[in-house]
Symmetry: C2
Subunit: 481 residues, 2 copies
């Protein structure tokens, strides 16, 4: 059996250590997470991939609502003139926006931007909705598709169209808006930790790396298996920049007209790419139970024998009743074929049930995150015990990812050390003078960028690791997706 | 108080019986369901409107999954050449599609269609995914935005961009696909009945009115307050039309390559317009409890008196615990102002709680669907009793709408009678020869169209009500949105 497995994997997916990019491409296609759309850089999110996104949405949406936000929907099409209103914003987005110029045979009077993000159209509406301090804060989120034309694309990681949520809030005071920015960053961090079993580093982006139009951008950065960083979410403090561009003012209690202070924050289908590259292994996907579309698969063994099918159906019923997302694989294929399939697809728990199990009053269980180990569990209270098992898997996957991350953050004190750390597939934590020149040097030499500045800014040296000038910030450097 | 109310309503919204279109526009804007987007015909769905859509989504999505469907996501952009593959389809959609021709300053080699519906791109994928009978059926649904450029637009009813779900299924046999078409039509009917409290007429559309590319289209038709019909959802049997255009074949068990048989079906944010126009009255919206974003509003009375705020908070807690979507309106406004606001917004139950209520161990309750009546309910077990009340309101609203519909369907036997029925704001049920000429005559004379042919085809006459020729079908005629 094991030999067979091994052979099949070789056939199915590239070696994860020798060719990680090819492994990624193989995994996303062969597990049917995704397919390529006909237009360059677009993706079709297939049911198995979309199931992950649905779980992400459900978990995040609950958190947004628990923190007082409501959902709304703003138009896909934005008049081109809107994009021009905020100077940095247009500079950042204009080259990559898709433009609608015609309807049928008729040319439009003004070309329309297919939203790359919705600050401009939402600010236009806020300028109408907000009159008085009574109208504040506005705490709105949108689930939507957006389009950005990218030169190099990869499923989930960078696609012409992607799905996301974008929160857009308006507040009376600077303090309130800044608090909101950090609050939502922390919501993302907690969500990644508890739901995606993925540790992330929170901190502030450098001026060079911040969002076009923001005063400050904060990010969560996750470490992929190859030591690269993936920016998994951002939260922006927009200050009064958009309020001034779109004239969003409110009459305060003191009778004075004031600009609102704004934030925006978002995560995307990119998170699915992160899950794949944090938890995947040589056998394919490994999905954290809390986002797995299928948490447990039940495989009948020797299903032609009397009682097996009935026992499996009873088992599935008990698991469903316990709130477990379970799939009964009664397809006409060999158990070995099915083992491979579900391992590759990353289902957290496989449950086998054959005549011998039934006789002994047990089922045979295998964890996706611990290869090769099998054990039995009594059929009594199977719902409860599998639920506990899924919780253990979830927390073990987090611990493993967290240990990996911790072991691969290196404090560095010179450009040379920085290069070594990156080549060892680590994040480099360094002191930095704050000058963009040093960022450019690292980019040129190592193809790496600054990721973010942790909130804990306790210095580890007095001088910039790159230029030797006076150190101003502690910051992570890494190669990145 | 009542006088005050009346005055406010006059100020806020147009008279429903004198100017129904203006009433509609006033209601959707002033209750903050929706706002106009900057691009002609687009709408912003504000949080209160989007909350209704979220409840619609949740209820429908559960039903789709219970009938074996899974969700996926296909790209927004479709190569123009795809649209050309199915002849009737391109004829139907080409004049109203928005076209992306440029990205930034660069012109694209092929212009892209912003999806008006996704048959073409989904069929392209299905042709790759489907090889064998083992791959069938494919039961996929998508929640997405679509764009159709319409000349005359109204919020929810007809907008340039709207939100919808589109189911796209592929089956081995004609019978299976036809069964699916009817099954999903029935899902829509049951959903409208039980969740929207809205009776609908199910049946088949005429050839003239069917979907561009379908073999047969079935619809659910709802009667609005003004006697007009609103097509609230459609389910299409596509036969092999798209399978042939996109070469979707499977190897059957008998070793023969065969075309698949397909269906598609959808409902849109239009449903929100239907809810408004079925249940609304002179005082504004009236939302069925099952889709109302707020099911009960709690108003503290004389909140400056000791104990009132505390009692209200306790009340809200109890209602939340019972699973009721409740809102505590502790804003600094008069009770009268709040009464109007929540009546206009259509919240099913208003609960007042003041010192006298607290002393008596009760709350004062008003139903939105029964004007002017107030009664008290013991504070003990308030969760349970409000839950029951909401169920009663839901079923009473359905009964009322059903009675209205029944009383406004007239059997007609001549063109003259048909005209009278329409002018009396009724649906006309008539025998019809099946000739498009008769449809055109009715359209010209009365601006009405055929709506659908009920499944009960028991004839009511032998001759066509319009031309006197041999009757072939029983069909509904109505003016329509």
């Amino acid at each position: 059996m094991d030999k067979n497995n091994a052979k099949n994997f070789v056939k199915e997916i590239a070696d994860i250590d020798n060719d990680f990019p090819q492994w990624y491409t193989d995994v996303v296609r062969k597990t049917e997470l995704v397919d390529y759309g006909p237009v360059k850089g677009t993706m079709v999110i297939r049911p198995y991939g979309y199931g992950i996104w649905e779980n992400i949405q459900k978990e995040l949406d609950t958190r947004f609502k628990d923190t007082g936000h409501v959902n709304a929907y703003f138009p896909l099409f934005i008049p081109y003139s809107y994009l021009l209103k905020e100077a940095e914003h247009v500079e950042g987005f204009a080259p990559e926006v898709a433009l609608v110029t015609h309807v049928g045979d008729e040319e439009l009077a003004e070309k329309l931007v297919v939203r790359p993000t919705s600050e401009t159209i939402i600010c236009d509406m806020y300028s109408k909705w907000i009159q008085s301090w009574r109208d504040l804060p506005i705490l709105v989120n949108q689930w939507a598709n957006v389009v950005r034309w990218e030169k190099t694309t990869r499923p989930f990681l960078r696609t012409t169209e992607f799905l996301w949520q974008e929160g857009h809030t308006a507040h009376a005071t600077e303090k309130e808006a800044q608090d909101e920015t950090i609050k939502m960053l922390n919501v993302y961090e907690e969500f990644c930790r508890n739901i995606l079993a993925m540790p992330v580093l929170t901190g502030r982006k450098s001026e060079k790396e911040k969002f076009a139009g923001a005063v400050a951008t904060y990010s969560i950065e996750a470490m992929m298996r190859d030591g690269k960083s993936l920016q998994a979410g951002t939260s922006h403090y927009l200050g009064e920049n958009f309020a001034k561009a779109f004239d969003i003012k409110y009459l305060d209690k003191d009778g004075v007209l004031k600009y609102v202070h704004q934030t925006s924050w978002g995560v995307t289908t990119r998170l699915i790419g992160a899950i794949i590259m944090v938890h995947g292994d040589e056998r394919g996907l490994a999905l954290p139970p809390k986002v797995a579309p299928i948490q447990a698969v039940v495989l009948p063994i020797a299903s032609f024998k009397p009682g097996v099918n009935k026992a499996c159906e009873k088992l599935v019923k008990a698991l469903k009743k316990a709130g477990i997302r379970v799939y009964l694989d009664d397809r006409d294929q060999s158990p070995g074929w099915k083992f491979n399939e579900w391992e590759m697809k990353g289902v957290p728990v496989r449950i086998e049930c054959g005549p011998r199990d039934i006789e002994a009053g047990v089922v045979t269980v295998a964890r996706r995150d611990q290869a090769g180990q099998k054990f039995t569990l009594p059929i009594d209270k199977i719902g409860k015990s599998i639920k506990e098992l899924l919780n253990n898997i979830q927390s073990d996957m987090y611990t493993k990812a967290k240990d990996t991350l911790n072991s691969r953050i290196k404090e560095v004190y010179s450009t040379a050390e920085l290069g070594v750390a990156l080549d060892e597939q680590c994040f480099a934590l360094a002191m930095w003078c704050g000058d963009e020149k040093c960022e450019l040097e690292v980019k040129t030499k190592f193809s790496a960028t600054t990721r973010n500045m942790p909130f804990d800014q306790k210095p580890i040296a007095k001088t910039c690791a790159i230029c030797g000038g006076k150190a101003k910030y502690k910051i992570y450097f890494a190669r990145a997706y």
